[in-house]
């Protein structure tokens, strides 16, 4: 690893060589008030510039070598949707993907979903846009598509669309983890679209219009709203807080990390499925319910010991400031300052041995009928390979003290192809060619 990593200070007590030798791929944390500063890399002037979406209202370019919505500085709002493909016909699916691409190209530019628009058609035509985004700016909208393992081969082994041979091995259902309480009805999916924007109405409008265009070809399997980002994907962004009240994503992979992105985030030219997936990334989603009420009755000390950071500044325990390096050798009295079962310790790249790009959002989905909020973190992570990314991190979190306060209720994995290249290109072209 060169470039950004060379400019970093090694994590306390561990050499960079040791750190990156751990997995041959890898760094990240799951709920990640945790992951170290320092480890993956800080922005420097030499790194790729941040594509800032012109404040909170501008447009993010839709085409590009990678899909927007991954290293794009995380917007404030999310509407994520997973679809089942209900047609048996490949040509219908391809037709829809082309129509979706056209609509996505238009909507990310702040235009109506269709050429005619919400109100310019005839009085008796069904409008080709639903209209709720009329008058709103692009709001940094990004639309990111992913293909789930069941698109290639259904659960019962059927190769519906002649794609079975194109499925890269890393695109497989995630293994079960201890403590999982997954609801199958809101897990998985043949396709997904992640809509992020700085205006929730813009994100919902985009998903709604894609659903409308997909009628007869896909049906919504599940969908999730997120109201506040819980990660920074650019060092130009302040670190947000998740619903535990802690800063989250301090040590995330970020757009400025250059070579680390190629190592941990983007599918490479030699990777499985590179013929259609090189330049893409794997997406893992986990709906993580937070047990808000027990957390809110825990003492500040308990909370900080659970996370491994201070709640106020976000500094690693034993350090002074948020971006101070995590140092596991620092002690408080006779004990390590950062407990060995804290989230930071276990999720830290030095211990997890890998890196992922987190892009999660807080959610509150009403209440649970027992007088408690149904709230938590909709975890989103992008990585070059789920096996050496999320799965590796999550396995290391088995003894995480935070597990007492969370429960994973939904899970999904998708392969996100590279970005579309020009006006004639469409989502999935290389896969379906």
């Amino acid at each position: 690893m060169t470039g950004a990593a060379d400019r970093e200070r090694p994590s306390g007590g561990l050499s960079r060589r040791r750190f990156f030798g751990l997995a041959g791929a890898g760094a990240g944390g799951v709920l990640a008030a945790g992951v170290a500063g320092g480890a993956i890399g800080r922005a420097t002037a030499a790194d790729a510039p941040v594509t800032d979406p012109a404040g909170a209202t501008g447009a993010v370019p839709f085409p590009g070598p990678h899909q927007a919505g991954i290293v794009t500085p995380a917007q404030d709002r999310l509407h994520f949707v997973a679809f089942d493909v209900i047609t048996e016909r490949r040509d219908e699916l391809v037709g829809m993907l082309k129509a979706w691409t056209d609509a996505a190209r238009r909507m990310t530019a702040g235009q109506d979903a269709g050429e005619v628009g919400a109100v310019a058609g005839g009085q008796y035509a069904v409008p080709d846009d639903t209209g709720e985004a009329l008058g709103l700016p692009p709001s940094g909208l990004t639309l990111t598509i992913g293909f789930g393992p069941t698109l290639f081969t259904t659960a019962d082994g059927t190769d519906r669309f002649g794609l079975a041979a194109r499925r890269p091995a890393p695109l497989a259902e995630l293994p079960a983890f201890p403590g999982d309480a997954l609801d199958p009805a809101r897990s998985g999916g043949d396709l997904c679209v992640q809509a992020c924007a700085d205006d929730p109405q813009v994100a919902v409008h985009a998903i709604r219009n894609l659903c409308r265009l997909g009628a007869g070809t896909v049906g919504v399997r599940w969908s999730q709203l997120g109201f506040g980002r819980t990660s920074s994907t650019s060092s130009a962004q302040a670190t947000p807080r998740n619903l535990f009240g802690f800063k989250d994503g301090t040590g995330n992979l970020k757009s400025e990390n250059g070579a680390a992105l190629d190592r941990f985030l983007w599918v490479g030219e030699q990777d499985p499925g590179a013929d259609w997936l090189a330049g893409g990334s794997y997406l893992v989603t986990r709906r993580i319910r937070m047990r808000i009420e027990p957390w809110d009755t825990a003492t500040l000390a308990d909370q900080e010991q659970t996370i491994g950071r201070t709640k106020g500044s976000g500094a690693p325990l034993g350090q002074a400031a948020e971006f101070d390096p995590v140092d596991f050798t620092v002690t408080a009295g006779t004990q390590p300052a950062i407990p060995r079962n804290s989230h930071v310790f276990l999720a830290h790249p030095a211990n997890a041995g890998t890196a992922i790009l987190r892009r999660g959002y807080s959610f509150v989905d009403g209440s649970d009928g027992l007088g408690r909020l149904d709230a938590g973190l909709f975890f989103i992570a992008y990585q070059r390979d789920p096996g050496t990314g999320f799965v590796q991190v999550q396995r290391n979190l088995r003894s995480d003290a935070m597990n007492e306060y969370i429960q994973h209720t939904s899970s999904a994995v998708f392969a996100c192809p590279p970005g579309v290249t020009g006006p004639g290109d469409w989502w999935g072209r290389a896969l379906f060619s």
């Binding site: 005839g122 008796y124 035509a125 009805a185 009628a215 007869g216 049906g219």
Partner: protein, 382 residues
């Protein structure tokens, strides 16, 4: 109901569409059809497993089909043009009963079909009609759509009154089992033409209102009041007055519905409204919350919608053949999917369907609605 009423208002406000309006077509009973007297009679003998049409080769013109049901099930007789467009039908032919159907047939190929048990595609045979027939002008094709559909409405209201009378009779006789069997049959005729029936805003709530929909001080009446008694308590003692009122209200709405003249745009919107009925009331099991006979209603709404679209078919086929193909495909897919839940002459109870099965039906209706929703714009441009 509101849809249709709203559409009428919209029509009135848009002068350019007045050309779409149909000429008045009167009461539209069979007797109004031209050349009824002296029309050649074709005997049709329907049994539970056969449909014997006396001749398969006809001359262009008006024909009288005399349908005799010698089977044990109630049957229906249809004459279909291309794409299952109904050009004539007679409903609700009880065992041992004979009924006549007058139908004007230009040259072409048709299908005659009996539907013993009133289910499925029926037992079909080809009718070949020869002779001169002037090509139908576009505006005439659209005008014919309204006439076709009005005839359909009339056949349904006729059966609705008869079946409601039988249902009411069973209720008043205290025959719970008999009334339970007749309930979904009577409602089939209601549900097939629901948007038309619902356009009478004063009668619809008292016939088809659900418990809790009434304004303060209003009584809960109609089909669902009796449904509640039949399935929840099994006690019909207090139902006599409700049964009498139901029949009177149904007779009134049938009379009014027979006078309704629908223009093509209203037909298009009615076809979509019927699918919306399925999506909002039947897929959810809300319509028949006591009897759980929602799939009967589903079938009826679906048939009614298909009929309205098919009335527009000649005009649509010319303007947008791809749309017609898509609609045909999706109607067929939905019909086939629903047929999987048939049980005897009826359907499984709503409660017997699993979540994935309901999800499949819902996806099919969403897809079908997407296609049918395009019809109005095509029709409006003609």
């Amino acid at each position: 109901m509101l849809k249709l009423a709203r559409d009428r208002t919209a029509l009135a406000a848009v002068g350019t569409l007045s050309a779409l309006s149909l000429a008045a077509c009167g009461g539209g009973t069979d007797a109004d059809q031209p050349a009824a007297e002296g029309a050649p009679t074709i005997a049709v003998t329907a049994t539970d497993d056969s449909c014997d049409v006396a001749t398969a080769d006809l001359d262009a013109g008006t024909h009288r089909f005399a349908v005799t049901n010698t089977g044990s099930k109630v049957t229906e007789f249809y004459v279909y043009a291309d794409g299952d467009r109904v050009v004539g039908e007679v409903e609700n032919i009880a065992p041992g009963v004979a009924r006549e159907l007058l139908v004007q047939l230009p040259a072409g190929t048709y299908l005659a079909a009996c539907k013993p048990g009133m289910t499925g595609d029926g037992i079909r045979s080809t009718l070949t009609v020869r002779g001169d027939s002037a090509p139908v002008a576009e505006d005439q094709a659209l005008a014919a759509a309204g006439t076709d559909y009005q005839r359909y409405v009339q056949s349904q209201t006729g059966a609705l009154v008869e079946q409601t009378a039988a249902f009411v009779h069973a209720v008043k006789a205290g025959d719970v089992a008999g009334a339970q069997a007749l309930y979904p049959v009577a409602r089939t005729y209601w549900e097939r033409i629901e948007p038309v029936a619902e356009s009478f805003g004063d009668l619809d709530p008292v016939i088809d209102g659900r418990e809790g929909d009434q304004a303060e001080g209003e009584d809960f009446t109609g089909f669902h009041r009796i449904e509640q008694a039949l399935w929840q308590t099994g006690d019909l003692a207090a139902m006599g007055p409700y049964a009498d009122r139901l029949l009177a209200d149904v007779q009134e709405i049938a009379t009014r519905a027979n006078e309704v003249q629908l223009d093509p745009l209203q037909l298009a919107n009615g076809a979509k409204a019927l699918l919306d009925e399925i999506a909002t009331g039947k897929i959810t099991g809300e319509e028949e919350r006591y009897s759980h006979t929602d799939l009967w209603d589903f079938q009826a709404n679906l048939d009614g919608s298909q009929n309205a679209v098919q009335a527009l078919r000649p005009s649509l086929a010319e303007a947008d053949p791809e749309l017609v193909a898509r609609i045909d495909e999706r109607f067929a897919a939905t019909q086939a999917e629903l047929a999987a839940y048939r049980s005897g002459d009826g359907f499984l109870s709503y409660e017997q369907l699993t979540e994935p099965q309901l999800r499949g039906l819902s996806d099919s209706i969403t897809a079908l609605t997407e296609a049918v929703s395009q019809v109005a714009a095509v029709v409006a441009q003609r």
